[in-house]
C-alpha cells in the first residue's frame, strides 16, 4: 500500500506492505541506516525513533500506522556539522564504544529531555532501561544526559 508520512521534515511516500515495520521502511526503502536493527522485538531499543515527538521502537510500528505522522530519526536530530545538544554531549563524553546502540540511546535521551529538562538519576534509569548497551557505556550515557540537560538549560 502507498503510505505518506514525514521523515526528518521531508514528506515521503512509500509503497510497502501494510505490516512492514517502520524500521525496515527507514533502512531498506528510504536508506536511512542510522536507525539500527538489534532484536526485532522491542527488547534492545537500538531502533528508537520519534513519532510525533514520542520515542518509539520502530521495529514494532507497522508502516500503515505511520501514515500522516512525523517521524524523526538520528539523521534528523542533528548532523555532524550541526549537532543536537544531546549529540554534542555524546561527543564530549566520548560515550560510544562500538556505537551500534547509540542512535537509539540518543533518540531515547532526546525524548526524555524534551519532557523532563533536568532529569534525576532515577528518571534517567526509568527512561533508559529499555536501551541495551552490550559494551557497557551506561556510566557515560548517564553523564552525557546530565551534560546535555545543562546545555539545554543554559
Amino acid at each position: 500500500m502507498k503510505i505518506g508520512f514525514t521523515v526528518n521534515g521531508t514528506p515521503q511516500e512509500v509503497d510497502v506492505a501494510a505490516d512492514m515495520p517502520l524500521l525496515w521502511v527507514l533502512r531498506d526503502v528510504l536508506g536511512l541506516t542510522g536507525t539500527k536493527y538489534g532484536c526485532g522485538a522491542a527488547l534492545c531499543g537500538a531502533c528508537t525513533v520519534h513519532m510525533d515527538g514520542e520515542a518509539v521502537r520502530s521495529c514494532q510500528v507497522w508502516a500503515e500506522d505511520v501514515a500522516g505522522r512525523e517521524v524523526l530519526t538520528i539523521e534528523g536530530l542533528g548532523r555532524p556539522e550541526a549537532l543536537h545538544a544531546v549529540q554534542e554531549a555524546w561527543v564530549e563524553q566520548q560515550v560510544a564504544q562500538c556505537g551500534y546502540c547509540q542512535s537509539g540511546q540518543i533518540m531515547q535521551a532526546a525524548a526524555l529531555l524534551a519532557k523532563t529538562p533536568a532529569p534525576s538519576d532515577a528518571q534517567i534509569d526509568a527512561a533508559m532501561e529499555g536501551n541495551l548497551c552490550r559494551c557497557g557505556t551506561y556510566p557515560r550515557i548517564r553523564a552525557a544526559i546530565h551534560a546535555a540537560a545543562a546545555k539545554l538549560e543554559g
Partner: protein
C-alpha cells in the same frame, strides 16, 4: 627439533587466538618479512613507505589493520603512527583506513599467552620463547585481532612505521634544500625549514621514496608525546554520535538483493528435508538456496527475507553433541573425578587431609550477542569477489571465501568494517561462509546477508562452560594451601578446529587467570581437566580467565574468611608480583576499604592477572527492599602505560559491566541440542538502572605495555560474589547469581 622450536610450534597451536601478553618486539626491518600490500595496488603518484603509510597528492593515509570492534583500536593505531610521523588526526588530508587483509599485518603478539609461561615470568627461557613465538607469528602472517594483543603488537611497530617515514621525508627535504637533517623539524604533515617554510609531505613523498630507510629508528621518549597518553577525541566518535557511521549491516550496492538464513538450531546439525513452498509464496521472496546446515532466503528487503525464512518448513537432524544441559554438567563432574590433563602449577606440598573440604563452582555457557547481528555484503563475479564485513581474522576469512567461490585467494577482497560489538563473535566465520555460498549461487548479483537476532543467538558459539573443585588449608589466621581443579572443554581446540588448524596439548585457557595467580601460597596446585564432546565453544571476552578467574578468586576468598583474615590484607600479604600488589593497594585506597558500611551492605575484592594485565576490583553491594543493588565498583589496572586515557576508562567501565552483567543474569543452556535463550528477553546483562558507579585508576608500574579490552572482565564476577558474601553471608559458587538471589 630443538626445544625452542617445539615451544613455538606449541604457541601457534595452543595460543593461536585466544590470548597474548605484551611482547618486546624490538627494532626490525619493517618490510623484511612480507611484501608491502600497498605496493600491489598503488595509485598513480602515490608512495608507500611501509605497510602502514601511503602518501599521495591527495593526502596521507594511515593503515590501521587491527579490527575495530568498539575497543577503539583503529584510532589508537592511527595515533601511534601519527605520534612519530608528526601528523594530526584532525588534518583534513589525513585519512585512516583498515587496509587490505595481508600477512604483512600479522599480529606478532597473538600467541604469547598460550605459551606455558606465566606472564609475570620474565626469565630467560620465557623471554626467548616469547620472542620465538612473535617471530613465528610474523612468519605465519596471521592477521588477527584478539586476546587484548592489539596494543602490545602495535606499540613499537607502528611508532617505528611513523618514524621511518618521517626520517625519509626529512632526508628528502634536506637533499632538496641542501640543508642538514638536524636543522629540520616536522609538524602537521610537513617538514619545517629553518626559515619557517613548510614543505608538505605530499610534495616530498616521491623524492623521499628514493631515500634509504634509516637503519636505526630511535623512538621519542613518552615525555615528548603530543597525542599518546593524553585525552584524544576518537576518530569514530562523531560518526557514532550522529548515526552516520556505516557498519557492515548498513552497506548497500547497486542491484543488491537481500538474504537471510535459517539454519539447524542445533549447531552443526544437518538439514534432512524441507518444504519451501510457503516461503516462496511470500511476496518479494525470489529464491530459496541451500547453505551449510540449512537454507538461505533471497528477497527484495531484509524484512521480506525474514518473513520467507519464517515460512520455511524444515526437518532438522540431531545435534552433534550432548543435547541436554544436565549431561554437560555431568560430563564436567566426571572429568573432575578423573586424572587431570595437566597440572599447571604445583608448589609446596598439599596437605594429606585438607582442612577446608572441597567446594564446587560452576560457570555456564554464555553468548557473545553483540548488538549488531551477523551480516555480510558480498559480490561474487567470475573473476573477483568483494566482501564487506567485520572480521577479526580477515586473511583466514578470505581463504574460506576463496575455497567456496572457487576463486584464487588474490581475487578475494575483504573490506573490513567497524563492528557493532563482537566480544569474540567475529573470530568465527559463520556469516562469511554463508554469504560466500549465497553470493556464489547468485554470481554477478551483490547480496547482503543479515541474520535475525534469533539465528545469531542460536549460532553463537558460546563461552566455555566450566566447573571447579577447590580445597585448602588455613593456619594461624593465614591461608596456607589451595588446591584447585578445573574442568572445561578446550576453547582453543574447538575454535582452531573450525579454522582448520590442528590442536595439540593441554589447553592453557582451561586454567587461564588461575594457574598464574601471583600469590605466594606455601602450597598451590592448579590442574586442568579436559572434557570432550560438549557444545562447540569459542573465545568470549577474556576467554578462560572469565571462568578460571572466578573459581580462583572465589576459592581464595573462602579460605581467607575461613582463616579469619581480611580479604584485602591477606591478598596483599600473599601477592608476590609488584604490579598486582599496586592494583590491590590502589583499590584499597580508592574504596576506603575497611571503613564502616551501612547495615546490609558489603564489599568484596578480587584480583586477576590475565593477558599480562593485573586488575583489582572492589565491589560494594547494598541490600534493598527491591533486592541486592550493586552500588559501586573501584578498579585499578596496570597496563604499563595508558596510551588513550579516555578510552581506557570507558573500556574498563565496560569490561566491569560486562563481567558483572553476565555473572548476574546470563546463561546459555541447551535443551534438545538447542540454545534456550533466543533474544534479549534473557541474556541481556546489566541495563542502565543496574549499572553501578565505576571508579577507574590506570597504573603504569608494569614493565610491558599491555591491553585493556579483556582484563577488567575476570575480577568482576568474583568481586561481586565476595561482596554478596560479605553483605549477606551467602556464598554463591555458581553463575548466574540471579538464579539464587534477587537483584534490584
Amino acid at each position: 627439533m630443538s626445544k625452542a622450536t617445539r615451544l613455538t610450534r606449541r604457541a601457534v597451536i595452543v595460543g593461536s587466538l585466544a590470548v597474548t601478553g605484551g611482547l618486546a618486539v624490538g627494532i626490525y626491518a619493517l618490510n623484511r618479512d612480507w611484501p608491502n600490500p600497498l605496493e600491489e595496488d598503488l595509485p598513480e603518484g602515490a608512495v608507500s613507505f611501509n605497510p602502514w603509510i601511503l602518501i599521495s597528492e591527495a593526502g596521507i593515509t594511515l593503515m590501521a589493520p587491527h579490527t575495530d570492534l568498539g575497543q577503539g583500536i583503529r584510532h589508537l593505531q592511527a595515533a601511534l603512527i601519527a605520534e612519530e610521523l608528526d601528523v594530526d588526526l584532525d588534518q583534513p588530508e589525513v585519512t585512516v583506513a583498515p587496509g587490505p587483509a595481508a600477512p604483512a599485518y600479522a599480529n606478532r603478539a597473538l600467541a604469547a599467552e598460550g605459551l606455558p609461561f606465566m606472564s609475570q615470568d620474565q626469565g630467560t627461557v620465557a623471554t626467548i620463547a616469547r620472542g620465538a613465538s612473535a617471530r613465528l607469528m610474523g612468519a605465519l602472517g596471521l592477521q588477527g585481532t584478539g586476546g587484548s594483543s592489539s596494543t602490545p603488537d602495535s606499540y613499537v611497530k607502528l611508532r617505528e612505521a611513523g618514524a621511518m617515514a618521517r626520517e625519509m621525508l626529512k632526508a628528502a627535504a634536506a637533499y632538496r634544500e641542501n640543508l642538514a637533517m638536524a636543522d629540520l623539524r616536522t609538524e602537521r604533515g610537513a617538514v619545517i625549514l629553518p626559515d619557517g617554510r613548510a614543505l608538505p609531505y605530499a610534495e616530498l613523498a616521491q623524492t623521499a621514496a628514493r631515500e634509504l630507510p634509516p637503519r636505526e629508528i630511535p623512538l621519542r621518549d613518552p615525555t615528548q608525546w603530543r597525542l599518546l597518553g593524553r585525552p584524544m577525541q576518537r576518530l569514530d566518535i562523531l560518526a557514532k554520535s550522529t548515526g552516520t557511521l556505516d557498519y557492515g549491516i548498513d552497506l548497500t550496492q547497486d542491484g543488491m538483493v537481500h538474504a537471510t538464513v535459517k539454519l539447524n538450531p542445533r549447531p552443526g546439525g544437518d538439514l534432512l528435508s524441507h518444504d519451501d513452498s510457503a516461503a516462496l509464496a511470500v511476496p518479494g521472496v525470489s529464491r530459496v538456496l541451500p547453505v551449510s546446515n540449512g537454507l538461505a532466503v533471497v528477497a527484495d528487503s531484509t524484512w521480506t527475507a525474514f518473513n520467507g525464512a519464517e515460512a520455511l518448513v524444515c526437518d532438522w537432524g540431531p545435534a552433534p553433541f550432548l543435547p541436554e544441559q544436565a549431561d554437560h554438567w555431568a560430563a564436567l563432574a566426571t572429568a573432575l573425578e578423573g586424572p587431570p590433563e595437566k597440572v599447571w602449577r604445583d608448589i609446596g606440598a598439599q596437605p594429606d587431609r585438607p582442612g577446608v573440604s572441597p567446594r564446587e563452582y560452576r560457570a555456564p555457557y554464555l553468548a557473545h550477542a553483540p548488538l549488531e547481528p551477523l551480516s555480510a555484503l558480498i559480490h561474487v563475479t567470475e573473476a573477483r569477489c568483494d566482501i564487506w564485513v567485520s572480521s577479526q581474522f580477515p586473511g583466514l576469512a578470505e581463504q574460506k571465501v576463496a575455497a567456496i567461490t572457487g576463486l584464487p585467494r588474490e581475487a578475494v577482497h575483504l573490506h573490513n568494517q567497524y563492528s557493532g560489538g563482537s566480544f569474540g563473535h567475529r573470530l568465527e566465520f559463520e556469516n562469511i561462509i554463508r554469504a560466500a555460498e549465497i553470493g556464489t549461487a547468485l554470481r554477478g548479483t551483490p547480496v547482503k546477508l543479515t541474520y535475525t537476532r534469533e539465528e545469531d543467538m542460536a549460532h553463537d558459539f558460546p563461552r566455555q562452560i566450566a566447573m571447579a573443585r577447590a580445597s585448602g588449608q588455613v593456619a594461624d589466621g593465614q591461608v596456607t594451601a589451595l588446591d584447585l581443579a578445573i574442568a572445561a572443554p578446550s576453547v582453543t581446540a574447538s575454535q582452531m578446529g573450525r579454522i582448520g588448524f590442528a590442536s595439540a596439548g593441554a589447553d592453557s585457557q582451561t586454567v587461564a587467570g588461575a594457574w598464574s595467580m601471583p600469590y605466594a601460597l606455601p602450597a598451590l596446585r592448579v590442574a586442568g581437566h579436559a572434557v570432550a564432546d560438549l557444545a562447540p565453544v569459542s573465545s568470549w571476552r577474556s576467554v578462560g580467565a572469565s571462568t578460571a578467574g572466578f573459581f580462583a578468586e572465589s576459592a581464595l576468598d573462602e579460605l581467607i574468611h575461613e582463616a579469619g583474615a581480611d580479604p584485602l590484607a591477606e591478598r596483599l600479604r600473599l601477592c608476590d608480583y609488584a604490579p598486582a600488589r599496586a592494583c590491590l593497594e590502589a583499590v584499597g585506597d580508592m574504596s576506603d576499604w575497611g571503613s564502616p558500611l551501612p547495615e546490609g551492605a558489603g564489599r568484596g575484592v578480587a584480583m586477576v592477572l590475565s593477558f599480562g594485565t593485573p586488575v583489582a576490583e572492589v565491589v560494594e553491594v547494598h541490600q534493598t527492599d527491591a533486592g541486592l543493588r550493586i552500588a559501586k565498583v573501584w578498579v585499578a589496572a596496570d597496563v604499563g602505560r595508558v596510551l588513550d586515557p579516555v578510552n581506557f576508562e570507558n573500556l574498563v567501565q565496560g569490561g566491569v559491566i560486562w563481567g558483572l552483567g553476565h555473572a548476574v543474569n546470563c546463561e546459555v543452556t541447551y535443551a534438545d541440542g538447542i540454545a534456550e535463550p533466543t533474544n534479549y528477553y534473557a541474556h541481556a546483562g546489566l541495563r542502565m538502572p543496574q549499572a553501578p558507579e565505576i571508579f577507574v585508576r590506570g597504573l603504569e608500574t608494569g614493565a610491558e605495555v599491555r591491553g585493556i579490552g579483556e582484563p577488567p572482565v575476570p575480577p568482576a564476577a568474583p568481586a561481586l560474589a565476595n561482596a554478596i558474601f560479605a553483605a549477606t553471608g551467602q556464598r554463591l559458587r555458581e553463575m548466574p547469581f540471579a538464579n539464587f538471589i534477587d537483584f534490584a
